[in-house]
Subunit: 288 residues, 6 copies
């Protein structure tokens, strides 16, 4: 969005990239997401066409660069990412992040939600609440299990929208359901529509602090082919935009857009979609 | 789907590839469909997220390899394909096929429906009931005319869904209509919706033996660009999945997914869609 | 569409290409649109599947080649394009054009609407009614402002459908609104649907002479990725086809399909979509 | 090369396309070669930079369109192609052809060399002198065996340059060697260099009528990736240009450039290379 | 190269981008060259492997951003580019530029060579000394004619290396030859080799101030496919690197690398090659 | 190469894939190398065209599948790979491996060279003898340092050919040089030629057990664009083939071909090159 580079203390909303995909188990490439989303964001302008308002008139936003990571050390990366976001939080800014794979949401939540668990709105094809994968407890299939276990997210204030796709075990959703997470499968979403589902989402999170995490694979791969684990039968870009707008007025402490994988995105459409959805998120976080 | 290789007598449902596109008249490449669908199927897992059931728990499924073909001899290929499927039928297995161009459905029907004509549910942009093309009676525009003429398909138990696109002659649909085939153009489909159209389809085929043939060009090319004769304005993947699920309980003697053309599919999306729809077909054929 | 080359006086409807994108400010490539649309149009056949009619049975149509342009001289190109269309008009033919960037609509209107302002139906993601851009009054963001100022278009008989995307200034739509142009944003379009919006469009243009301009970026980039300034959240191909068909019976003096950019369209889908929509436009212009 | 369309009797050299790849056994697509070579040839200009001469100043050249083929009937296509070239020959023109797979050279030779066998210079990775393939005697691995057997080519006046790649049987080259064909493997070519090999080629063909056939897979796939059976370790474009120029003064009755497969050529480089080499061939055929 | 952003007065060598291709007459896209070259330059490290030296240890280098341009106004862009480089010169820095089309070299020379004509070493497939093109005197086919006419370049101290490809008129090279420019066609280059040609180049330019301009189409398109007017039969990357290194010790007042066109470069190879050659140029300009 | 699947004890030469790229620090994707190399190897036939011999006539070769890895645990993967190769060795077979990133050579050497250090011929753009990278001692920049330190490779019997590209520190080659490794930079290679360099390589390794490791980035990216860290100015495929053939008669205990990255290889050329070079390696290992 042609934003100036900034330090956290200079902004209200800090745009951050996390060039890390060490949590991906199959097709990698999300590490290149931040760069390509920045490239495509040069096509995005300043004023929202529906509201007629520009976020840049109401809050200070800036690009705070990439979080430090180590491509060869997953656990060290989780720590350095958390430390980076702790600084942002200490500076009083709210982060809006371009991932990276979905595991990167975990260290963000560790930095933002240490004091008290937050609500979570998750747009995704996958629940990402596995216990472990390949014997590892930290990968892009487990972040929200860990976040619930660590007390970062209140599962009764958590909703997952767009879940779908064949799974490896019928028990995959048991943890989330038992914990109280509301799972809206894509079939229910299609039957009820955007407005109804988002009304429920708003009721679930209430007025308290909430984080929003948008995995680009929530979208159908015709809209976002460039991602590691695409699942057909997803949302349209239209629906995604409408849902984000219906988050207006929520108490958002941060948001992210993850799993854009440029090597799998020859046309650049996925990165453009990611950049546009980040603009929508920015408008909502800016209060209008 | 990471299935083991198997012989027909070891399985209830035999997955088969037909690497043949000698029936294509314009853009070829469907001969490479089976290989790429197998590649992409490694992204598909075991349990259906809606039913919570795995087909692999209820039936034995295996990959029986590719049907033998001769890329230089269309008529010989029709014979060798038929013989291959006759063996599968003799072994008591039902075939689920990855094409190949749409002509390959003809030898399958010859092997499966010699005793009595079967019902047919065809998802397609094109009726494929030409009499001949370039002077040839055997190509990917004629299989269902031949199948009706040969008594393999009962035209009054046959329905085509998704037909659209400019045609070369206004009389193109006359044969099918006269024979009693129900043609649901895409405009009617859009107006009535998935549930209503599929209720009609189920009424037409009834409880008797039926074959299901899914030409990937039934989908809009935004969902399945990699096919020889794409037509804009087609179905979405969502709709295709919903329709296949509504085939649950039908008496299916076999099914195919044809016309995936990898050379025209740089992102792999079409092959992924084909693999996922084959998983949906497998679930339906497995009885749930 | 495998049409013969023709001179304007030999046809009722003249298909023309304008290989010019000198009005584009960011990503160029629309200059190659006409060639690639011609290539893809070889997949389009003669008879419309809904009406069962062929435009070629009712009117004479031919490919009148490309309008002369100078890639290095924007103003000279505007003049040579206008002169080319003036000849077509003098010969009694109506033009159906493959662009080119959207600025190319201006010289067409100059040739066709000198005597009296015409009505205009514009499908587009962008209003294209800027006053100037980079200090220039003639580029692909300004053609309809110029057309209104020059008295070529009657703004009270003008409607824009599909407008969306972040803008650089909240006042961007003020000129069009003040002049009386009806702007249907994509959100209103989605809420009301194709039939309702097109009924309004027909009421606005009435029976008097009207031009139709279709910017391919009106479509969602999942349907038409190959264009210079894609905006997510657009129309589907289905909706576009339905809307064009609802123009049947309008008094169309010409139409264009612009902003197809082959270098940004590796799969060819955008050019195929453009060619198919041009066939729909041809059917409507041919009177059925 | 922006040439006018022409009838054979209007030209000295007739450029012809053969959109046929029914002789290909693995990866098809060469049927689209003529169209894409024409597209890319718009980048080629009129005057050769080494000689300073333009072929168009010395001979009449024109695009005589595509030979008629039937994509579903190989044998019928061989006949219709032969008939088309027989007309060209009867009109006194010499053909310069864009293929098509390599089998298409056979009907050309049948039309041109019925009276007496001609010499042949073949640039190729493969000898194409199999007896049969998949039981078929007519495919892109057999044309030169058939041509020798039918007395169209004098094997002692025949040379193959650039042969390489693993073969299915050690006896593959026996027919050609026994018949007297000179095979220059790529290793010998590299060791001796362009000038030495071409001196031998000129000695072999002498002053008598000779045909030149250039399979684009003679080039290394880094120069020409878009072909059905690429073999690494081939010639460079530089070397190909130098060799064609060294054919100057030979008695060429025709030439072809085959096996350009656009679906396998996303960058268009192979078609551009094909178009440029055809310009080189045209210059040589034009006598300078 | 992960360089810091800098103002001209802070550096000895100023890296600059010119995102302008308004001088291109056929395939555009070079306007996106600077961004993609910067992206790919992140793969380039600090120390030259042959010399074992790092330019960053000997001079101060920084990225001074993009020159201001107006995509809709060629003449205004020439002026704003010239003004930008005049500032760099006034600050005492030498510019190393990523284009842009080749016309952008003209305003650079106007800024650097106003006092006295400079020598020029040009690597290129095209002479770029047309008088005009499409009636325009300022486009990417004319910069060096203008530079000679304006007294910016001394034609007797100018050499062009790698020239090739069909031309539109046999007189195309007359101006350059008459003015005293040394043209080394690719055939002469291949016959003599890198060392011999570069020895001549060094003799021609002598010790006096010289500019180096590298058009990426000097390379064969197998090494650099992403450019507007590729010509087969060019140099290899190896040869280009060797030639640049042989410029060591020359009195270089600036250099550029132009005509990288990312929309035509799906694999990114051309931009990577451009970035690597710019590193070679930087090493030579830094004195070793 | 259409080889049968086999267990190690059934073969003399075991073809193995290692789908692991956890050692890559920038662009990943080599984990998909084995699958795509297998796909492309279907284009490779049985008999070498120079020798006229088939390796399959002299030794038993089979595809032993993929080594087990954990994409989320680098150290565990090193152990499981080593164990897999220890089994192959115990069965008396020699492994020929398709990587994977270059780190995967380390566990292979641990399995094969525990008793005594072996010689090593390494074709590569990079020395891969860093001490550590991002604080990690195990990544694709360090395998040969570790192998020397662990006594698996005798550095005085080790040669690296093709090294080039900017480095991060002038001291990068110090470890290898001090240890006695012979480094042949690409410039020396170009000056001396294939035969001379390979004669030296054979003298260095002598008759004792030797391993051959071929990093595909030894090739110029025009021949092998699909790799994580391409460096321009590399070898040609021709040269690579010639060098491998000159290894005939050496005492090879195993070989690998690594760093083919399919997501970066849209045309498939890199995988085809990898498959062909593996056939050359197989021929050499088979003794002819």
């Amino acid at each position: 969005m042609r934003l100036p580079m900034a330090r956290p203390e200079e902004v209200d909303i800090a745009l951050v990239g996390i060039p890390f995909d060490g949590g991906a188990t199959n097709r990698t490439g999300a590490r290149h997401g931040p760069r390509e989303i920045r490239n495509q964001s040069s096509l995005v302008r300043r004023v929202h066409h529906v509201t007629g308002l520009s976020p840049f008139d109401r809050i200070r936003a800036g690009d705070c660069g990439d979080a430090p990571i180590n491509p060869l050390d997953l656990m060290a990366s989780l720590e350095s990412i958390e430390a980076f976001y702790a600084e942002i939080r200490a500076a009083g800014a709210r982060p809006l992040t371009a991932g990276g794979d979905h595991l990167t949401t975990l260290p963000i939540l560790r930095a933002l939600a240490k004091q008290a668990p937050v609500g979570l709105v998750q747009f995704d094809a996958h629940s990402d609440t596995y216990d472990s994968f390949f014997g590892s407890r930290y990968n892009h299939g487990t972040p929200f299990r860990r976040a619930i276990e660590e007390g970062l997210v209140d599962p009764r204030r958590m909703i997952q929208i767009g879940i779908r796709g064949a799974i490896s075990d019928a028990a995959n959703y048991d943890f989330a359901r038992t914990a109280g997470v509301r799972i809206v499968f894509i079939e229910e979403f299609m039957a009820r529509g955007v407005a109804d589902v988002m009304a429920e989402a708003r009721a679930i999170i209430g007025d308290k602090p909430t984080y929003l995490s948008f995995d680009i694979d929530a979208l159908d791969p015709s809209f976002a082919p460039g991602t590691g684990t695409p699942e057909i039968g997803g949302m349209s870009s239209r629906e995604a935009q409408a849902m984000i707008r219906l988050m207006g007025g929520a108490h958002l402490i941060g948001a992210d857009l993850v799993e854009v994988s440029p090597p799998l995105d020859p046309s650049g459409l996925t990165a453009l979609t990611g950049a546009t959805l980040m603009f929508e998120l920015l408008c909502v976080m800016a209060g209008g």
